[in-house]
Symmetry: D2
Subunit: 156 residues, 4 copies
């Protein structure tokens, strides 16, 4: 599966650690990580995925592959700016959100609008009363990956 | 100024009434409304703007101008799907959000990421603890318009 | 109708003159000009349209309305870079091409792919053997406008 | 390198054969194929690349990975329609065009506008007088791949 890992560029050490574990678990499960290709959560998820023997796709806002973090195996410069967030939401079969920023929030919202399962791992807790079934909160990286790859909406 | 009015397609009567007043006040002030061009809040804002003698731009997700509401004076079919939300956020000089849906939330987030002033009129109250100065909440349509056209960030 | 006027930024005086006449004739006929919002052919078409009492929409590649030429009445900064050409092709009901550049050529091709009538006014003569009915060549600004607003494909 | 292979969906047997060889040679050289992910030239290039042990990326116009041809290893549904052509042009480091259609022509034009090397393999011969150094014509699949991966503009 193609799983989106979305999150802030200025992540805390804890967020980066979670992202790295998420990336590694996804890769070990045979899944491909798609993300915004930049730093913070995105870089950590890609690093973890490469450690796990996986492939990582970075959907970049600018026009140069050089803006990708070093663990992006397939950089896709789009030249679309922030509109590239909609591509990540559209391409991913499910998304795991780590940390809370405006970019991350836009991806959660776009993915939910498109009907994609979103798993929040310490992300956007304030969305709980609003999100209904569209977003589910995970307590650990392992749980988040399990929810993402099993299609968390299918149990309804 | 080009002011975005963003909000849900399945709006309540109160939300539509607010949107219509917002549209009319913007037009009377000489401003142009830009929106997603569909129903609910978008249609009401356009209707109000036309009543106020203004111009309305609808940035449509599909490829046909026929999907615009009847009060869009300049329909722009983009064929971009949900990614068109990023264009609304990018083009508007300030945005007024009415009602809360995933599409609206994505536009609030994208606009805030781009540094655009967002005024929430009964929209996304759960964002208050997170939003900081990026979003300001208005108590009335009149206040929302005043904040949007005066550049609400300039007073900081 | 919303008519696209597409063409090179570094236009010749003759191309600019044709573009200005096209813009003015479109506006006098009650039509709105949509273009890339920059210089050369785009600026001349907008200038003509304003002289004719019309409205002009500029779909800009960058994120700032300041990059629009002075005759764009509704600047739409998209932040999409060259991908904004697809929006011009999608939004216009017919397009008039003046001069030949890679950007213009991409718009002719995208519009033809979308089934939009394209009228070439001294543009891309080398396309004649390939274009079939998708592109028609006009001998004058007057003829180009007439073809564009009458739906040149309907006569087939 | 990430090399774009662009071309028509309704390709001739000869065009498909060239595309398959191009895909295989690129993969054997350690390069990744990026394309529009659909049929004809795109499918043949992907099939060749998989036979060569490579990876293929399909930038799809719609919202479903199911529209990818069976040899796309990483499908990226974008939901952007024809605007996805601009992403292929932006992401590829060089592009090989096989066959001539409006979509292909739009990608050649967008890539040339962005300064990307384009190699035409039996594509758009009518562009020769216009293209200058932006497009180079190859006589064989082998020559096209060699030009693409060596950076054909560097010899100027």
């Amino acid at each position: 599966m193609l799983i989106g890992v979305i999150g802030v560029a200025d992540a805390s050490p804890e967020e980066e650690e979670m992202a790295e574990i998420v990336g590694q678990l996804l890769a070990e499960g045979g899944h491909t990580v798609i993300c915004g290709g930049r730093g913070g959560v995105m870089a950590a998820a890609c690093r973890g995925a490469l450690h796990g023997g996986g492939v990582t796709v970075g959907i970049l806002p600018g026009t140069s592959a050089a803006e990708a973090n070093p663990w992006v195996s397939i950089p896709i410069p789009t030249g679309l700016g922030e509109a590239r967030n909609a591509i990540i939401a559209c391409a991913a079969e499910a998304l795991i959100a780590i940390g809370t920023g405006w970019g991350t929030l836009s991806e959660i919202a776009l993915a939910s609008k498109m009907g994609k399962p979103v798993i929040a791992l310490g992300s956007a807790p304030f969305l709980r009363p609003f999100a209904g079934d569209a977003v589910r909160w995970a307590e650990s990286a392992e749980a988040a990956v399990e929810m993402a790859v099993s299609g968390h909406l299918s149990g309804k």
